[in-house]
Subunit: 730 residues, 2 copies
């Protein structure tokens, strides 16, 4: 996989259309027509054995007949013909193929096999493939229309700076039409279909390097290679290009539908959430939000800070905006006293804290608007400003005034986000956008865009903080960009990922691990666990308990029994030697009764640990997305409240601390109701070590769970009291 | 307060405009012009001593000079002139006044006083007042334009079936303009401003009876009379008219702003949430949602069931819709096998469960759309159908097809909600709406409307269940309507409220209640509490402990000490006589040290209660909204997770059970992890009794809290272990 190939793909100097036709009802007729109509400047070679020319261009009998370099071949032919066409393409030295043809992996096993064979042959010949079962792509700036989507026929899109990549053709076409309707200019548009070769991640990576693209919109239904997706998102982040994603299949019901309809494996949705967040991509929940955010980024760019100024002519709507802003976690801080005094001097009844309500007075003195806006962007230093003008903003005079104000504010405060909320027709909307400002009838939509902007700003701040010093941010971004580009060229770990996966590979054995085996191995890898004694006899168990000191706990040791408590395999709070012997007998009898065929390795004896705050630590390998590290609150909370948080490994100390803060019950760890502060740092260390352990185990790990993991009072560390380790069975 | 007056208000046969002017820049010129231009059919009397005629109508020197009945006088005059004008109005027998004049309660104490004096004088003369500081109102169907809002000057609204009432003038004007832009026809539009007399609740009640109004939109910033609001909402519910509300001041930040800007007292927002839910009003969170829901109700009405069919041409967007629907709690059930088979026979690759994905095949066979839609509305019986057509739906041919389909489906399934999602221009949108169908670019907005419809449907179902039998529903609604109308005529409890407040009034004493006083009183009112012994001496305490049986708990008894544990005033788990004496000594010493001035009434001795599930029960009187009953989960959950739920009293058994189910930790009460099932019925009973107790206490109650309230295993009941009762201090 090399990026230069994708450049020749998306910016080809010559395009052959296999299956080109003069019959406009045929799919093969469409791209030829688009390329000619929209003025593609490269060579166009229609391939059709029974035509002399198509759309005024000379037609060729075969790819071989072209006798010139072919950067891109479009296969607008049925699935039954693609194999022969590929032979031709290989012989003719074609570099890239876009395959509209349906009838592959989306049709079941047989189609999947045919698709894999095609992809393998193309790959062996060094040919990159987009599709099959896709709508193709467009490079709008270069008038490359390698698509048969009818949506292009109903009007072209203006060239711009937003790149759209969609797995789904239908959604891609809809996105194209929506962008056109909104006047949102596109750089590139790609649908990836079955992704036999090129996937969404490749396209994001390409757009991250494409100078015409400044904002990336990605629509995913599934992902088969989480690492590639993460690397692509890192590239976009390093290039300073915000990525807005929609990933469908969020809820259980949704995921069920996805599995029944797409050829891609839908991963666990919470993990996708984490993946996007960790790699700086904003996940939109609806189509409207997807476009509002991308459009906002394209028109106005990111503001310099997360402070939001709310300016209103209606007190009540000011309150609504404040509500929405508070919900979105925006920074709605009060104006400096001098700015407030200035506004009150002009409007004695004005609310001046923020929201600033200049009241109906503005109808008599429209210049109040500019004076207040300047105070908020100037003295108050708000990064974003939202101006609600109610019906008042819809008069012709006020429309003109807003346009002027938009231009003036962006001239004097070029880095700020200014959004107007009033009734604006399409022309007014465009005029405000041309000035670099946004316009929404409902101010809540502007707030939602500002919330997304906050996400990107905080993501950048985090990057700066982790790079060590504010000044180092840009350098770090540059380094990451360069290194990530290398990583793409050679399919290795991206440096961010490799840097922390510092544990050497350490495969797990394929045979089952008992609790004792698991605890020993984890302890060896630096994870704190309770000391214990393995006992193979009654006497040994008693001796172990005596040695450890009472009270102790005793548990049956068997790799075949997962739920030890359920079968009576656990006795807690054994206080003396006599109880220890009885406990041993009880456990053995219960185990024989409940699991007569289980291989029993005796019992595990460990001291009773009291106090501390119980958590659950875990990691599992997601086949598509990689190793997922989990922290949950213990006891009933994880089950009852789903109080759990995830990260993709590697997890560093900062991230581990963030995970802890994300727990709903985080306060339990911080001296809740007079309890001692728990040793949060020991917990964070354990998360990092578990992440390393899981990464080092690679494909040999299924899952590992430390439950309960008790966090003792500050300075006393933390301890796993039990562990379940499941390796990939041979 | 009588409703006929409001009829003469909103449908006046004659209108005098005090402050009428020929100078169009004056506020007093505006209503005269609107009334003349839009063809008001009643008498128009411009009042102006220095003009002969205004807008072609004869002007009068004073209200007295009119010498004819005046249903409505508009005061378009400064605050300084209203007192004299009121004298004139009283003398002339004016029935109603709308006061545009600003400078009253919104200006502070002095204005508040002037407003109260004006209202009292008007009230004494039997005159109803809208305002001051409002934009007035319109009765669109009767061309009554008693407003000076410039928004009416930019175009009139088509008469229709949606009534809008807004406390805020600016928001009201915006809502008027938004309705006009959407083609949403209005019946009436009222802004209530400072609400010196007529408030939002009065207008809702009037609209509930107004034959032209079918859907009510209400915008509130605060509420000073919760009972009236509840009665008004009950009237609308009984009349089968859905009410959609926006109440601003949701979050702490928002509420802060509301308090600084509005003359009305903003109540606790969670209580408003509960008030709206209990009385069947849907609370919208944003302006867009406010209009989407009201518009949907006006265009299509409520569907017959909560089942939603999702029909898509894009699998991925089908998944998105399913996600949104699942989040919204909609019933997305699978199609019957026969319907699925029919669809698969035509499109072998179709997903047929629900969402139904008819794939790109629809471009070749557009009639697939109708066949599938009919299967979903017919065989599957879906109450609502959402059809996503991507870009494909935007072609001229498909637009025509959708219009035809919309008409056909509504003809054959007149009670169903059908929504299209594709790109539709304004004309297409109107055409679909005229056929009774909805249209949204983003299907998520359609789902949001369907979620609101579900809210109304479930509210009706609950009403049916509570009425006892399905057939009784309509009768119950009629009864409620008639009874509620009575209630409006005589300001008494609405029957629904009165019926359950069956406890006779029982005022609390104004002096403080100790824990023992509170427990005794609550026990007398049927609330279960732990048995206890009041002890005034060491010996008495020991005797009490001996009598109750060990282990016991001992607590200091003092109405002056609320946080007994904090000062060392509580000793738990006293196991024997010796410990009891020591505990008494320790408590007395600690109390003397920590609260030397507290009046101490000895100690309370009670048995230690172990086991059970801890809850918190409480009630407080909200000065504006009435008695709020609270149930929280006990221990750390209420504080850590805010696991709490509210109802306005009276709370019946069904509602009490619903409250229990609403707790995030409800499963703890239902035998979580092998624990015994708790006596949930005893808890529900206690909630109902606490509601009755609080209602009976009326204005003498500040708040009462039973914490912990322990719910024992099934059949064993429940017990308050502690109680704090705060009465209104004399």
């Amino acid at each position: 996989m090399t990026l230069p190939d994708l450049d020749s793909f998306l910016s080809p100097r010559s395009i052959a259309i296999v299956g080109a036709s003069s019959n406009r009802s045929k799919i093969g007729a469409v791209p030829v027509r688009y390329l000619v109509e929209y003025g593609y400047e490269g060579h166009i070679y229609p391939i059709n054995a029974r035509a002399d020319e198509i759309e005024g261009r000379r037609a060729y009998a075969s790819l071989g007949a072209v006798q010139a370099p072919i950067d891109l071949a479009i296969f607008a032919i049925p699935a039954s013909s693609v194999s022969a066409a590929l032979d031709e393409a290989i012989a003719a030295g074609v570099k890239n193929i876009v395959m509209f043809s349906a009838g592959f992996a989306e049709m079941g096993k047989q189609g999947e096999q045919a698709q894999a064979e095609f992809a393998a042959r193309a790959n062996a010949a060094g040919i990159r493939v987009l599709g099959p079962n896709c709508l193709g792509f467009m490079n709008v700036a270069r008038a490359v229309y390698a698509t048969f989507s009818p949506v292009v026929g109903t009007g072209s899109n203006t060239p711009g700076h937003v790149g759209i990549v969609s797995q789904s053709g239908a959604f891609g076409a809809y996105a194209y039409a929506m962008a056109r309707e909104r006047g949102l200019g596109l750089s590139a548009w790609v649908t990836t279909g079955n992704e036999s070769d090129i996937g969404v991640a490749d396209c994001i990576a390409w757009m991250a390097r494409d100078p015409a693209t400044r904002v990336i919109m990605a629509y995913l239904e599934g992902c088969r290679d989480g690492r590639k997706l993460r690397e692509a998102l890192d590239l976009a982040r390093a290039a300073g290009k915000p990525v807005v994603v929609v990933k469908v299949g969020r809820t259980a019901l949704g995921a069920l539908t996805a599995a029944s309809h797409t050829a891609a494996l839908a991963g666990d949705d919470a993990v996708f959430d984490v993946l996007f967040r960790q790699h700086g991509a904003y996940r939109a929940r609806t189509i409207e939000e997807f476009f509002d955010v991308a459009h906002g980024l394209a028109v106005a760019g990111l503001p310099p800070n997360t402070q939001v100024g709310l300016l209103t002519v209606s007190g009540g709507v000011g309150v609504m905006m404040a509500d929405e802003a508070a919900d979105a976690g925006l920074d709605v801080r009060e104006l400096p006293a001098a700015a407030q005094a200035m506004i009150r001097a002009r409007v004695p009844l004005a609310a001046t804290h923020n929201p600033v309500d200049i009241t109906g007075q503005v109808t008599a003195e429209p210049d109040l608007l500019e004076a207040t806006a300047r105070a908020m962007l100037g003295e108050a230093g708000h990064g974003s400003l939202l101006i609600f003008l109610a019906a008042f903003g819809a008069t012709p005079a006020m429309r003109a005034l807003q346009q002027q104000l938009a231009r003036d504010l962006r001239r004097d405060f070029p880095d700020r986000l200014v959004a107007f909320s009033t009734l604006a027709d399409a022309a007014q909307q465009r005029a405000l956008e041309e000035a670099g400002c946004l316009s929404f009838t409902d101010p809540a939509r502007a707030i939602r865009v500002m919330a997304a902007m906050r996400f990107f700003l905080r993501d950048r701040e985090t990057a700066v903080i982790r790079a060590g010093a504010p000044g180092a941010a840009m350098a770090a971004a540059r380094d990451a960009q360069a290194a990530a580009a290398d990583a793409m060229a050679q399919p290795a770990d991206s440096p961010a990922i490799a840097a922390q996966a510092d544990a050497p590979p350490a495969a797990l054995r394929p045979t089952p691990y008992s609790e004792a085996d698991a605890l020993e191995l984890l302890t060896a890898r630096g994870l704190p666990a309770v000391p214990f004694h393995r006992a193979h006899s009654r006497e040994d168990a008693i001796a172990g308990a005596n040695a450890l000191g009472y009270p102790v706990v005793m548990k049956v040791l068997s790799a075949d029994i997962t739920h030890k408590s359920d079968i009576g395999g656990v006795v807690l709070n054994i206080r003396q030697e006599k109880e220890a012997g009885a406990a041993y007998d009880r456990i053995m009898a219960a185990t024989r009764a409940a699991a007569p065929n289980a291989r029993v390795d005796g019992v595990l004896v460990a001291p009773m640990v009291r106090g501390g705050v119980e958590c659950i630590l875990g990691a599992r390998r997601d086949p598509a997305l990689g190793v997922v590290v989990m922290l949950g609150s213990g006891g009933v909370n994880v089950e009852l409240l789903g109080d759990v948080t995830f990260r993709l490994a590697p997890v560093d100390l900062e991230e581990a601390r963030d995970m802890i803060d994300e727990l709903k019950t985080a306060r339990l760890l911080r001296g809740f109701r007079g309890a001692p502060h728990a040793d949060v740092e020991a917990l964070a260390q354990a998360i990092v070590r578990l992440s390393r352990f899981a990464l080092a185990a690679g494909d040999t790990l299924e899952s590992v769970e430390l439950n309960p993991f008790v966090v003792l009072p500050q300075g006393q560390g933390a301890l796993a009291l039990d562990a379940v380790l499941i390796s990939t069975q041979a």
